[in-house]
Symmetry: C2
Subunit: 200 residues, 2 copies
């Protein structure tokens, strides 16, 4: 439901509890992903410093509606868009790497119904062109990270009506990423062992 609030008097109006709830939900969802995003960025900086790999984060796509050219090209109206590809890609020993980072607060299962279909298509395409595609999944409550091959995730996604992957299943088909101080989550070690050995 879209509510059109009267314009021009927002400061005279109390924030409703419904609005507070929405605001909290938005913030929580953003923060949940944020911790893990930062940890991955730190890991990638480490890889770059040590000359191991070059992995970059794709900026969040934003649909710019209106720009104020009179005040230093300030964007005054814009909306976040869904990433149609993935969060990260880059190069490791000449190989193209492409992955998506997911975070869940659940202890028992990862919801996968919110994976956009374009993302599935994108990852399939990465594999088709000889790239290395995977997911990094952060089980926030358990504080564990798993690497799972895109193909394995996609196969599960396409064969299960109940769009979530149990923790036990991820432990079975995924690989736990070791955590340390530097690098925070050494996912390249697993890429080296499980994804470069023609296992794809």
């Amino acid at each position: 439901m879209k509510i059109n609030y009267p314009k021009g008097i927002p400061s005279f109006r109390e924030t409703t509890s419904q609005e507070k709830k929405i605001r909290k939900r938005v913030h929580t969802a953003a923060n949940r992903g944020m911790d893990f995003e930062k940890a991955i960025n730190t890991t990638n900086e480490y890889y770059l410093e040590k000359d191991l790999a070059l992995i970059t984060k794709r900026p969040t796509p934003i649909n710019v509606v209106k720009v104020d050219y009179e005040h230093g090209c300030k964007i005054v109206s814009a909306y976040f868009e869904k990433q149609s590809t993935t969060d990260y890609n880059g190069v490791y020993k000449g190989h193209y790497l492409d992955f998506e980072a997911k975070t869940t607060n659940s202890k028992t299962s990862l919801p996968i119904n919110n994976i956009p279909i374009q993302q599935i298509e994108h990852l399939k395409s990465v594999n088709k062109h000889g790239g290395i595609a995977f997911f990094l999944v952060y089980w926030r409550t358990l504080h564990e990270v798993y690497l799972i091959k895109a193909n394995d995730m996609i196969e599960y996604f396409e064969n299960h009506a109940r769009k979530s992957m149990p923790y036990s299943e991820m432990k079975r088909i995924g690989h736990q990423v070791k955590e340390s101080l530097r690098p925070r989550f050494d996912y390249l070690a697993l890429v080296e062992t499980f994804l470069l050995e023609g296992e794809q």
Copy 2:
């Protein structure tokens, strides 16, 4: 010079010729790059359709300052940021590809003083990790596109105080990209011939 216009009465004020000039300059610079960007995007769509390669454009990074959570997460204050990497990357036959698109209106030389130093570092890093790095340069007035290896451009950049590359030099060290209806600018043909043959 920053002019602080009185707030709240913009509609009662005539747009000054100075403002018109600024607005036109901003638009022109954006459009100049836009044509070529569209042509590359179309080319990349063709490559994807024909199962030849997966090349994606990195979204323009935007620094979001303020979001209005009460109106569908509308961004109400944000600024464009300089791309610290490049415009495009992707995978071709398992190889990592990374390139920047440049447009010039000049008939005689390409200004290279505006290439950010982070972009140079990024492209060097791509090469170091076994990726394929290059520039696509659109000579708008001449309607010609050249592919030039990142290493060649960087070498020129670092050895010439006069930060522009003459057209003659680009013809000498670059490779002209064939234009057709589909694909618009077949740069992969040149990648195949000049960049995959250990010539890097």
